[in-house]
Amino acid sequence: MKMTINRRSALAMLGSAPLLGAMPRLARAAGEIKVLNWQGYGTDEKWATEAFEKATGIKVVHDYFNSEQEMLTKLRTSPGAYDVVLINNIYVMDAAKEGLIQPLDTAKLSNFGDLAPALRDSDRFVQDGKHYASAWVWGLTSFAYNFEKITDKIDTIEALWNPAYAGKVGMRDDAMEAIQFGALATGQDINNPADMAKIKDKLMALKPQLKTFWSSEDEWNKLFAAGDYLVAVYWSGSASRSRKAMKLPVQFVVPKEGAIGWFDGLAVAANAPNPDGALAFINYMIDPSFYIPWDTNVGAPASANLKAMAGLPEDALNRAVLGDAEVVKRVQWMAPVTDQQRQAQQELWDEVKTSFAQ
């Protein structure tokens, strides 16, 4: 449609602006939800939002964050702007205490009963019998290697320190993750390591091994494809995407020393304009009809829904590796950290990185 604007119609438009401002709000309350998540993390799959809109008439709009701190900042500074928000389990209780999210009416989630109880009823999500987030997906932080260039099967975290891969190792520039790796490699509790000096020495020994740091899945894929990385720290969900969607020779390893486990929940923001729409969307997100195509066609972390996991093909990484009870026993689950702990970890990591540059 072509529109010509003259002075009169411009004035008319100005006059009706308050009305225009009010109308989308009403329309929004009826048929729209706003989701806050990492980009490319399931909720914004186009086929899924289209299927959801077709089934419920609710349009899904997205806003993204690049770090958990940014997500919390957005919830703090824009109350009433979001309906559904993705929260890593370790932040859920903090967000609830700050009044950023509201308890879920789980009766409206028909798939809630199919979620793994260990995740669903974890005290990271539940307080005073109220669920503040629905368990959604979980995964592991460990490492992956190039199975075309390394033909020996790797089963130990020491691979990152193996001189055979000197200058071909990658890791993420993240203090918490680096220290957790140091803890695994030195046989310590990742959440409460007793000997930080030992971890520091172990990490400093990575100097001849490291090529460079990565900061996103996309960057990891590029560095791996270019041959910069033979062995690199990685996330399980991303590993299955790299193998499936990018066709890279990526073999994810859960070493005998263990791996770092995390799980994410979906929450409803406090003052959400459309809480019912939010619950309907969360119910769809934990439904096998969303999860199975997501993992099969795109690549995803493991689902918290046991029926969804059972519906995966038998050779899927999420069923074959993460579905193995022996593997899950080796996982150490990430716990919340205080601001002070976070600062101490950052300083230790900055000391390690300074030693890399010397």
């Binding site: 770090s67 203090a175 100097k207 490291l210 090529k211 740091f213 601001d339 300074t354 540059a357």
Partner: protein
């Protein structure tokens, strides 16, 4: 009195600009300065009290002062390279090329300015592989930053060279100065204001750079800039990040204060 009226009119005309500057530059800076004396960011029920601990940390913790030195060192390399590369380009532009060709070369020099910094830096990650393969090293950071800041050097030096009266150099030559002498004793001193303007424009932002080191520098990436960034993005310690930034600003102002008398003597000659 017409003088007073004119004064008033000028004040009236520049007031919006100053107000705008005050709002957009000084207000955020003032907030950050205030934050730098707090124990925590006062949101989400965090209790904040006044403290000097972040400024003390700068001196007592090696990671901060040592990486501040690394940032200054990097800025020195980048600035030196920009002047050494930019000066001949500016000379050629003023004295040897005219008309259309000059415009075309100007465009080529300014082009990096118009390119998104992130795109520019990522394109270096491709170029620096190839036969050189110096990606993820210290020289890669210097190359990326020199590419970004070279236009400042060329443009400021060009402007001051343009202003030099051609006849002064001819006079020096006519009075028996060699080409080298004419350059060292006439052209270079007269173009010094442009060189210095370029040095300031380059040195100061490079000390705070964090994106280029992180993308191009691999294991050598750590500087004060990336450390400040992580206080905002990873640890939610804005007070420490702010204090480290103000320490860097203080160091630069101190360097200017020490260098200024020396400069003034040079300029007045």
């Amino acid at each position: 009195m017409p003088g007073a009226e004119k004064h008033l009119r000028v004040t009236f005309l520049v007031a919006p600009a100053y107000l705008w500057l005050a709002l957009t530059v000084f207000l955020p800076l003032a907030v950050m300065l205030f934050f730098s004396f707090l124990t925590a960011v006062p949101v989400g029920g965090r209790e904040a009290t006044l403290t000097l601990q972040h400024y003390v940390s700068f001196f007592t913790k090696k990671i901060y002062w040592y990486n501040a030195l690394r940032s200054l060192e990097l800025a020195a390399y980048v600035t030196l390279a920009c002047v050494v590369l930019g000066y001949p380009v500016a000379v050629i532009l003023t004295r040897m090329i005219t008309g259309r060709a000059r415009e075309a070369i100007f465009l080529m020099i300014i082009l990096p300015f118009w390119t998104n910094a992130l795109v520019r830096t990522f394109s270096w990650t491709m170029v620096l592989r190839g036969p050189f393969d110096i990606i993820f090293t210290y020289p890669a950071i210097v190359i990326g930053l020199v590419h970004a800041y070279l236009p400042y050097a060329v443009l400021t030096i060009y402007v001051s060279l343009q202003a030099i009266d051609e006849r002064l150099i001819e006079a020096a030559r006519a009075l028996g100065a060699s080409k080298r002498q004419a350059f060292m004793r006439v052209m270079l001193p007269l173009s010094l204001p442009g060189v210095l303007a370029g040095v300031f424009l380059i040195f100061i932002p490079v000390t705070g750079s964090f994106m280029e080191p992180r993308i191009l520098g691999g294991k050598d990436a750590i500087m004060l800039g990336p450390i400040i960034e992580s206080q905002f993005t990873a640890t939610f310690n804005w007070p420490l990040g702010a204090a480290l930034s103000f320490m860097m600003l203080a160091i630069i102002l101190l360097m200017l204060a020490l260098g200024y008398p020396l400069l003034q003597r040079h300029m007045e000659r």
